[in-house]
C-alpha cells in the first residue's frame, strides 16, 4: 500500500491532544456566540424571506397590454432560442386587430427550463419576463409543472415585479420609452392606449 508521506510534526502535534483542545476551543466559541447572540446568517425561510435582487431570474410571466391581452405576437423567437426546448407556442390569428398573430396557448415546461433568460432577451415585444422574483416553482405532478398562458399572465396579479421597483429607483436605467404607469416599453410608432 502506498501511504502518503507523513508531514513533519512536532511532538505536541503528534500526541493530538493539544491540537484537539485548540479545535474544541474554536467550535465552542462559535457555539456560545450563536447560543447567546442568535445572529445567524441563515434565513428562517418560510417565515422570513430573502429580498431577491432586482435582476433575479424567477418564474416567467407574460406581460399584458393595457386592455389585458398578452403582448406576445407568437413570433416564436423565444421557442427558437430556448436551449432546453421547453417553450411550446400555438399561434393563432386575430382578424380585427393590427396585431396579426397572438398565442392561443403558450406553455413553458418548468421541469426542463434552465433559467438562462434567453427567451427574455430574444423577445422583440418585451412580452416575456423573468422579473417575478418567484423561486418556489414546484408542484405535485409533472403536468402541473407546465406553466401555461393563463397561469403566466396571472402570475403577478396584485404583486409588484422586481424590475418595476428597480426602474422606479433607477429611472435613468429604464429602457428608452419605458412607461412606469403601464409597466412596459412604449414603441415610438405605436399609439398609446391600444
Amino acid at each position: 500500500m502506498n501511504l502518503p508521506v507523513e508531514q513533519k510534526r512536532t511532538f505536541l502535534e503528534r500526541i493530538y491532544l493539544v491540537e484537539i483542545v485548540k479545535g474544541l476551543a474554536i467550535t465552542l466559541r462559535h457555539a456560545l456566540h450563536n447560543l447567546f447572540k442568535q445572529d445567524f446568517e441563515t434565513f428562517e425561510y418560510p417565515d422570513v424571506r430573502k429580498e431577491m435582487p432586482e435582476r433575479y431570474k424567477g418564474a416567467h410571466r407574460l406581460t399584458t397590454r393595457p386592455d389585458g391581452r398578452v403582448k406576445c405576437v407568437a413570433c416564436m423567437c423565444c421557442a427558437q432560442v430556448c436551449p432546453a426546448k421547453c417553450i411550446t407556442i400555438e399561434a393563432g390569428e386575430l382578424d380585427d386587430d393590427p396585431i396579426e398573430k397572438y398565442p392561443v396557448e403558450f406553455q413553458i415546461d418548468m421541469l426542463r427550463c434552465i433559467y438562462c433568460g434567453f427567451c427574455v432577451e430574444a423577445c422583440p415585444k418585451d412580452a416575456i419576463r423573468m422579473d417575478t422574483g418567484i423561486y418556489e416553482i414546484n408542484a405535485f405532478t409533472r403536468q402541473d409543472m407546465i406553466h401555461d398562458k393563463a397561469y403566466m399572465t396571472d402570475l403577478m396579479a396584485g404583486k409588484k415585479p422586481l424590475a418595476e421597483s428597480f426602474y422606479r429607483a433607477h429611472q435613468d436605467a429604464a429602457p428608452p420609452g419605458y412607461d412606469l404607469e403601464e409597466d412596459r416599453v412604449l414603441p415610438v410608432d405605436e399609439p398609446r392606449g391600444l
Binding site: 501511504l3 500526541i15 493530538y16 491532544l17 484537539i20 479545535g23 474544541l24 474554536i26 467550535t27 465552542l28 462559535h30 457555539a31 450563536n34 447560543l35 442568535q38 445567524f40 446568517e41 441563515t42 428562517e44 417565515d47 422570513v48
Partner: protein, 462 residues
C-alpha cells in the same frame, strides 16, 4: 412474609428504571447533537416542528423523528442472510443496554418499615441502587461491550453488501485494537481501587473531590501534595479509557465503520425503519453507558463532591432549603429571559395570528411554575417537613445522587458530540498506529506506574 417475591419485584423496578434511564437520555442526545452541531456551524438548527405552537428549541423534532422511523417502510432486501440480519440490530441494542445494569446510580435506598409493612415485610428494606450487584462488575462491562461488536459485524456480513462488509470489518478491527488499551486502563484503575465491583468503586470516591479516581484515589482526609503524583496515573488512564470509549462507540474520530464518504453508511446501509433506529439508538446508548462508566471510574460516579450520601440524609432539611430557595431566582431569570424573547426579530416578523407567538408566554409560565414549586420546596425544607419523615431523606439522597450521575453522563456525552463536530476522521493507518503503537505501550506503562503508585500510597498512608 418477607419472600423472594419482594426481591423479584424490586429487581424488576430497577430494570425498568435503568432501561428508562438510558432511553430517556437518548432523545435529549439526538436533540443536542442537532442543535449543538448547528450552533457550531453558525446555523439555527432544528426549529420547525411544533406542538400547539411550542417548538421547545427543536426538541419536538426528536419526537417527529421517532414517528417517522416507526411508520417508515421496513425494507428487507432479498439478498441478505435473514437470520443474522434480523439478529444484528437486536444484539447491538441489547448489548448497549445490558452494560448499564452494573453501573450504580446511588449508594442505597432504604425503604422504611412503615412502607414495607404494606406487603408484610419485617423492618426496613435496603435496596442497592444497581440492577446487578455482581462482583465482576467492570469485567462484565468489558465482556458485554466486546459482544456488541458482533451486532456490527453480523450486520455488515449478513447484508451481503461490500460496503457493509467493509464497515463491519473495520468496526471489528477497531474494537479489538482499542479494547486492549481500554482493558489495561481499567486494570490500572482496579489496582488503585483494589476491587472490580463498581458499587464499591463508587463508594470509595465519596467525599471531597480529590477522592475521585482521576486523582489516583488517595483516600486522604484533606488536601495532600501527593495528589499530583496520582494525577499522572489516573489522568493517563482516563485519557486512554476515554479515547477507547470513543473507539468502542464508533464516534467521530473513530467512526470509520460508517465513513459515509467511502462506505455509504457502513454496516447499517441495508437497514431501514425501526431496524435502523435500533442501530441508531444503540450508538447513543453506548455513548451514555460509556460516559456512565467513565463517570463511575474517574469522576466519582453518583457522588456529589464534598457531599457523601450520609451527609445528604443527615442534613436533608438544610439541603432542601438551600436548593429550593437557590433555584427560585434562577428560574425567575429564565422566565424573564423567555418572556423577553418575544421581542426577537423572529417573533416580530411572524404574522400576528401565528401560533408560535404562544412560545414566549408558555415558557415564561413554565419557568414561573417551576420557581413557585421550588419556593414551596424551600419552605418545606425550612419547616423541617423533609427530614422528619423516614422516606424524605432517602428520596432526597436518591434524587440528588441520580441527578449527579445524569449530569456527569450528560457532560460526557456532550463532550463526545462536541468532539464529533470538531475533529476530522482518522485515516485507517493512523487509527491502527494510535491504537497499537501509542495507546497500548502507554497503557502497559501506566499499569507499571500504577503498581509503584499503589505501593507508594500505602507506604505514605501507613
Amino acid at each position: 412474609m418477607e419472600s423472594h417475591w419482594t426481591e423479584v419485584i424490586v429487581a424488576l423496578i430497577k430494570c425498568v428504571f435503568s432501561l428508562a434511564f438510558v432511553m430517556q437520555i437518548v432523545p435529549v442526545l439526538i436533540w443536542a447533537e442537532r442543535k449543538f452541531s448547528a450552533y457550531i456551524q453558525d446555523r439555527p438548527g432544528p426549529n420547525r416542528a411544533h406542538i400547539m405552537g411550542i417548538r421547545a428549541g427543536g426538541l419536538v423534532h426528536t419526537l417527529v423523528d421517532v414517528v417517522k422511523l416507526v411508520v417508515k417502510e421496513d425494507i428487507i432486501p432479498d439478498h441478505v442472510e435473514k437470520k443474522f440480519w434480523f439478529a444484528a440490530p437486536v444484539i447491538a441494542m441489547s448489548c448497549a443496554l445490558t452494560t448499564f445494569t452494573v453501573v450504580p446510580w446511588g449508594d442505597r435506598f432504604v425503604v422504611p418499615a412503615s412502607i414495607t409493612a404494606w406487603w408484610g415485610g419485617e423492618g426496613p428494606l435496603t435496596v442497592p441502587l444497581q440492577v446487578a450487584t455482581i462482583n465482576s462488575g467492570m469485567l462484565f462491562i468489558l465482556a458485554i461491550g466486546s459482544l456488541s461488536v458482533y451486532g456490527v459485524m453480523l450486520a455488515g456480513w449478513s447484508s451481503n453488501n461490500k460496503f457493509s462488509l467493509l464497515g463491519g470489518l473495520r468496526a471489528s478491527a477497531q474494537m479489538v485494537s482499542y479494547e486492549l488499551a481500554m482493558g489495561l486502563s481499567v486494570a490500572t484503575m482496579f489496582m488503585l481501587y483494589g476491587t472490580t465491583e463498581l458499587d464499591k468503586v463508587a463508594a470509595q470516591q465519596a467525599g471531597p473531590i480529590w477522592n475521585w479516581g482521576l486523582f489516583g484515589v488517595l483516600d486522604a482526609d484533606g488536601f495532600d501534595p501527593l495528589l499530583f503524583v496520582g494525577w499522572i496515573v489516573g489522568g493517563l488512564a482516563f485519557i486512554m479509557f476515554w479515547t477507547s470509549v470513543f473507539a468502542e462507540t464508533n464516534r467521530m474520530p473513530f467512526d470509520l465503520p460508517e465513513g459515509e464518504a467511502e462506505l455509504v453508511a457502513g454496516y447499517h446501509v441495508e437497514y431501514s425503519s425501526l431496524r435502523f433506529a435500533l442501530f441508531f439508538m444503540a450508538e447513543y446508548a453506548h455513548m451514555i453507558v460509556g460516559s456512565a462508566v467513565t463517570a463511575t471510574l474517574f469522576f466519582g460516579g453518583y457522588n456529589i463532591p464534598f457531599l457523601p450520601g450520609d451527609s445528604i440524609r443527615a442534613h436533608a432539611d438544610t439541603i432542601v432549603t438551600v436548593l429550593g430557595f437557590g433555584a427560585v431566582p434562577v428560574f425567575i431569570a429564565f422566565a424573564v429571559i423567555a418572556w423577553n424573547r418575544r421581542k426577537r426579530p423572529f417573533y416580530q416578523a411572524l404574522a400576528p395570528d401565528d401560533i408560535r407567538h404562544r412560545e414566549p408566554r408558555f415558557f415564561a409560565a413554565f419557568w414561573s411554575v417551576l420557581a413557585i414549586a421550588h419556593l414551596g420546596l424551600g419552605v418545606a425544607g425550612l419547616t423541617g417537613a423533609v427530614g422528619s419523615t423516614a422516606l424524605g431523606p432517602e428520596l432526597l439522597a436518591f434524587i440528588l445522587q441520580t441527578s449527579s450521575l445524569v449530569i456527569k453522563v450528560l457532560i460526557g456525552t456532550f463532550f463526545m458530540i462536541w468532539v464529533r463536530w470538531t475533529i476530522p476522521r482518522f485515516r485507517y493507518d493512523q487509527l491502527m498506529n494510535l491504537g497499537w503503537r501509542a495507546m497500548l505501550p502507554l497503557a502497559l506503562g501506566n499499569v507499571f506506574l500504577a503498581g509503584i503508585w499503589v505501593i507508594f500510597r500505602e507506604a505514605v498512608q501507613a
